[in-house]
């Protein structure tokens, strides 16, 4: 019996040691969203696909790490990173000051502006007065949510959704009059599809860094500074060796990286 207890104690010690030292990043778990086409979505076959997914895999390869993808709903995506459900987030997350207080970011891996979308013919010209009193849909916990709340919170009725897909459903059902989201997500995930045929962009490109940050980066726990470095080097590598462009051309016909 005593030997058994001693053995068990030894095993517990061994386990603790192995978790403490397993930070050579030969295996990296990456949190992704899976409901944000064309950046991240689930194919009819049930597999994760999209720009973010391909970038995540390419970065893993460039780092020489084995990547495991973990799908996670957006509004829990930072808490789950902090709770160590995965080690990095590759989910079109904009680099903003608020988020920097909780997590560390790599350099950006793409940057696109935000835009409003409405049904064709419902709003002639975009202005604060033109959208006053309208219902505007937005994905909860996004930079777009924050921008809308801070700038139009008193003028419009804000409807917050867990995923962008739910917001599209309610726009086509007529439950909201406008959506605010990333322009590329809106154009490729909605406007170019049959259900988006009656809808159009309205208003200016929005990219004020105060709300929209410095592009989309990879979020990593603050203590893992070595992983941030590894990802930054991996981003530079896929940018220079043409992998980035190959992935970009698969999804877009323009430069998604920005300036």
């Amino acid at each position: 019996m005593k030997r058994l207890i001693a053995l068990a104690a030894l095993m517990v010690c061994a386990l603790m040691v192995s978790t403490a030292s397993a930070k050579d990043w030969s295996k990296v778990r990456i949190g992704v969203e899976g409901a944000y086409p064309p950046f991240s979505y689930v194919t009819p076959a049930g597999e994760l696909a999209g720009f973010d997914i391909d970038i995540a895999k390419a970065l893993g390869e460039a780092m020489g790490a084995e990547v495991t993808l973990v799908a996670q709903d957006w509004d829990g995506i930072i808490p789950a990173l902090l709770a160590k459900k995965y080690d990095a987030i590759v989910a079109s997350m904009s680099i903003t000051e608020e988020r920097k207080q909780k997590v560390a970011f790599t350099n950006k891996y793409y940057q696109t502006p935000a835009k409003f979308v409405c049904k064709k013919g419902t709003i002639a010209e975009f202005s604060r007065d033109a959208i006053k009193g309208k219902k505007v849909g937005v994905q909860r916990a996004t930079i777009h949510d924050r921008y809308l709340t801070d700038n139009y919170g008193n003028d419009v009725e804000i409807k917050r959704y867990g995923t962008q897909d739910e917001a599209y459903l309610d726009l086509t059902a007529g439950r909201v009059d406008l959506l605010l989201a990333d322009s590329v997500a809106l154009s490729d995930g909605f406007l170019k599809k049959p259900e988006g045929a009656d809808y159009q962009f309205i208003g200016p490109d929005l990219s004020d860094p105060k709300w929209f940050g410095d592009g989309a980066g990879i979020a990593i726990r603050k203590e893992d500074t070595d992983l941030v470095e590894k990802f930054n080097m991996a981003i530079d590598k896929i940018r220079s060796d043409g992998t980035y462009k190959t992935i970009q051309d698969k999804y877009f016909d323009f430069n998604v990286y920005g300036e």
């Binding site: 608020e98 709340t149 867990g162």
Partner: protein, 238 residues
């Protein structure tokens, strides 16, 4: 931990509280109004009435509330037949969809609770009512239902609390209830602990009030079963 951000944003929780209380109260009242006739019909109706009621109860007890709400909210919006109908202005509103799903859900559970309570009515009470020459309707109204309500009260208080907690699902269809408020605060400040603990306190307070009121009602309804120590009519003989 930083609860100042909760105090700064407490207004949004009170909006949420109001939405939760209104949603749950209305659906409980409507659900109960629906459940009473259904429970009576389940006991005294013929088969052609009982079968559709059973099917309704089976559907709502057999599927999760979340699925029912998605069906009503996103599912109905898919059909042009409904979108072009006079009902659409109602189903367009998230609030109405939640109310609709909640009412039918609690109605099904309550009907089942009441059905059992009616079935358990003491034979003696029914025989006495018949001997007194009561018609069936009068007997149901004066004897069976009051006695069934008493028996159903403890189980029904559970249903009230389940409904309160189930209403948290309203937050997934854009309604700002208590949980919705917590999700907004969480998403803005990335402080899940503070945001959801505050929501928990709100729910616990509401549950406390419900338990207190049910207890009051229980004392009142079961007065005839209490020991009558303070009753001056029954005094120990000198």
């Amino acid at each position: 931990m930083d609860f100042t951000l909760i105090f700064e944003n407490i207004g949004i929780y009170f909006t949420g509280l109001q939405n939760t209380v209104v949603l749950v109260s209305i659906s409980l009242v409507l659900g109960l109004l629906l459940a009473v006739p259904l429970a009576v019909l389940l006991n005294y109706g013929n088969n052609s009435i009982r079968l559709p009621i059973r099917a309704y109860i089976y559907f709502f007890r057999g599927t999760p509330l979340l699925v029912q709400m998605f069906l009503v909210y996103y599912g109905f919006g898919q059909f042009d037949l409904i979108k072009d109908s006079l009902l659409w202005p109602f189903f367009k509103e998230a609030y109405f969809c939640a109310l609709f799903a909640f009412t039918l859900n609690t109605g099904a559970y309550t009907a089942e609770i009441l059905r059992g309570a009616i079935k358990a009515t003491n034979h003696g009470e029914i025989e006495a009512a018949m001997a007194a020459g009561m018609s069936k309707l009068l007997m149901i109204r004066r004897i069976i239902l009051p006695s069934a309500f008493r028996r159903a009260l403890p189980a029904y208080s559970n249903e009230i609390i389940f409904m309160l907690h189930g209403s948290a699902l309203a937050s997934v269809i854009t309604i700002v209830d208590i949980t919705g408020a917590a999700r907004i605060i969480n998403s803005r400040y990335y402080s899940p602990y503070e945001a959801f603990v505050t929501a928990a306190v709100f729910y616990m307070t509401l549950t406390f009030i419900i338990v207190f009121l049910v207890k009051k009602l229980e004392v009142r309804w079961f007065a005839h079963l209490q020991p009558q120590s303070n009753n001056p009519a029954i005094e120990a003989p000198p």
